[in-house]
């Protein structure tokens, strides 16, 4: 699973090359092919050429629907201005054909009991952070009818296992005196975040992706080094703000995202 490519061609090529070397042929993309980076068309075309099943990310949706008027997505005016500038830059350059492709992407993908989403099953904008309430996290997977949920959006890879869960309840109905006690045993479920290929934020500039072994169920996070300087040069040549190159080369997000961990952008 690869996610959050953000128009970073050098990172995408390095990751796909790394995947190919391991002989893995089922690749799923969790969205955000575009946004901030300098090569949106090239990255979309690479995904299309390789016929990689992809679900729609929040940036992909924004390119189709137009600018999201919700300001609460950005934690500062500076971040918002940069985000809007990046949006307009990308919207002007992505071909109509590639826009149609982004519009055709489904919200979720499913393979047996594996579910693939960008943010969460509820929304492309909901962050499933590793420290979110464990019961709420389990609810996301269980309500979606999956055993393992693969997501992106946070740009920080992790594997989370939720197990040994139970909830005991007592019910009081009309009449006020009839109480019944019940216990619900919770199934074991997992959430796996693939991190980001094009704009990693986990403290290093290496691109990340995850590999799931369908036989053993094992999940591993992979890090791939790529030539960041190539993308930085492309950013500058493309006329995008130079500070994007600096931020990328230091492993920072292009424009900081909202600090609120449970933020869901309501439209």
């Amino acid at each position: 699973m690869i996610s959050c490519l953000h128009a970073n061609l050098a990172a995408c090529e390095a990751v796909l090359s790394d995947i190919d070397q391991q002989g893995i042929d089922t690749i799923t993309c969790l969205g955000d092919l575009v946004g901030y980076g300098p090569q949106p068309n090239e990255v979309i075309e690479l995904v299309r050429e390789r016929s990689i099943p992809t679900c729609q990310g929040c940036w992909d949706e924004d390119i189709i629907d137009g600018l999201n008027a919700c300001e609460c997505s950005y934690p500062s005016q500076l971040a918002e201005r940069r985000g809007h500038r990046a949006h307009h830059w990308a919207a002007e350059r992505i071909t109509e054909n590639n826009k149609a492709f982004l519009a055709s992407l489904p919200m979720t993908l499913r393979r047996d009991r594996l579910l693939f989403v960008h943010g969460s099953p509820n929304s492309q904008h909901e962050y499933l952070l590793p420290d979110m309430n464990a019961f709420a996290a389990l609810e996301r997977v269980e309500t979606a009818g999956a055993d393992t949920l693969f997501c992106g959006h946070t740009h920080q890879p992790y594997v989370r296992e939720l197990s040994d869960g139970a909830i005991r309840v007592s019910v009081q109905k009309d009449g006020n005196h009839s109480d019944s006690e019940q216990e619900m045993i919770l199934p074991m479920r997992r959430i796996v975040n693939a991190g980001s290929v094009g704009e990693p934020r986990h403290g290093s500039t290496k691109a990340t992706y995850v590999v799931h072994d369908d036989d053993s169920g094992e999940v591993r996070v992979h890090e791939v080094e790529y030539d960041v300087a190539t993308t930085c040069q492309a950013i500058v040549e493309a006329g995008l703000p130079e500070v994007f190159a600096w931020r990328l080369s230091h492993g920072f997000e292009y424009a900081e995202r909202a600090e609120d961990a449970s933020h869901v952008c309501e439209r």
Binding site: D131, E161, L162, Q172
Partner: protein, 231 residues
């Protein structure tokens, strides 16, 4: 601290509302009335009730209203909800019912209905028609405890009062736990999280309403029909 009365599903029935008000006034210690949506419905004329809610009579317990599913459908039909087109209503009702709903409410009430809040948070309690996931969220005593806990977590409240299902119940989370194991670039973290002691309360609908005492956390399910039968 005084008791709360929680009512829903009046659906334009002014007589029912007056009965509930009379019932409440007979009991001492109830000072706060919350109306959890569905004040309107495909009733011949909701305007009288709406007028009474907006301009209570002197003896009335002052109602605090939030919007519900019916209000949401009506506002969608009138274009107050952006692109939304009241699909749920169309799915559940035939054209004549949709028309009845439209005709039941005078346009002079629309702005007021649109100004109502989605829910209220009072003293660590969430008061909402469905849930913060959706105004049409039907939560009852058979709903998965995992989902009920999620709805409590979303609002970050200890008590969630909901009306959409029409059921009267109190479901208390009494125990349990879950283990979370996270593996990331920093290493592995293990966390055991207990189930918090919280409740979801279905307040009922129409003539069935609920009294709640925040001080003692006591719930009483009542019905105006009982009072009528008792006479």
């Amino acid at each position: 601290m005084e008791r709360w009365a929680l009512v829903s599903g009046l659906r334009g029935d002014l007589d029912l509302y007056e009965q509930i008000q009379a019932d409440l006034q007979k009991q001492r210690g109830t000072a706060h009335l919350f109306v959890l949506g569905d004040m309107i419905g495909p009733h011949p004329n909701c305007d009288a009730l709406l007028k009474r809610l907006r301009q209570p009579k002197r003896r009335d317990l002052q109602p605090h209203c939030i919007y519900g599913w019916q209000e949401e459908q009506l506002l969608s039909l009138h274009g107050y909800r952006g692109e939304a087109k009241a699909e749920e209503l169309h799915r559940q009702s035939d054209e004549s019912e949709v028309r009845r709903l439209l005709q039941a409410v005078g346009t002079e009430h629309l702005n007021w209905l649109a100004s109502l809040q989605f829910g209220l948070i009072e003293l660590d309690c969430g008061l909402i028609h469905g849930s913060s996931a959706d105004v049409g969220d039907e939560l009852d005593e058979t709903t998965s405890p995992l989902i009920l806990l999620d709805r409590l977590t979303r609002l970050e409240v200890n008590r969630l009062f909901t009306a959409r299902s029409g059921r009267q119940f109190r479901l208390q989370l009494t125990g349990g736990q879950i283990r979370s194991k996270v593996r990331d670039h920093a290493g592995e973290q293990l966390n055991d999280q207990p189930v918090p002691r919280r409740s979801v309360i279905g307040v009922g609908s129409s003539g069935n309403y609920t009294l709640y005492d925040p001080a003692s956390d006591h719930i009483e399910f009542r019905s105006v029909h009982d009072q009528l039968r008792a006479r």
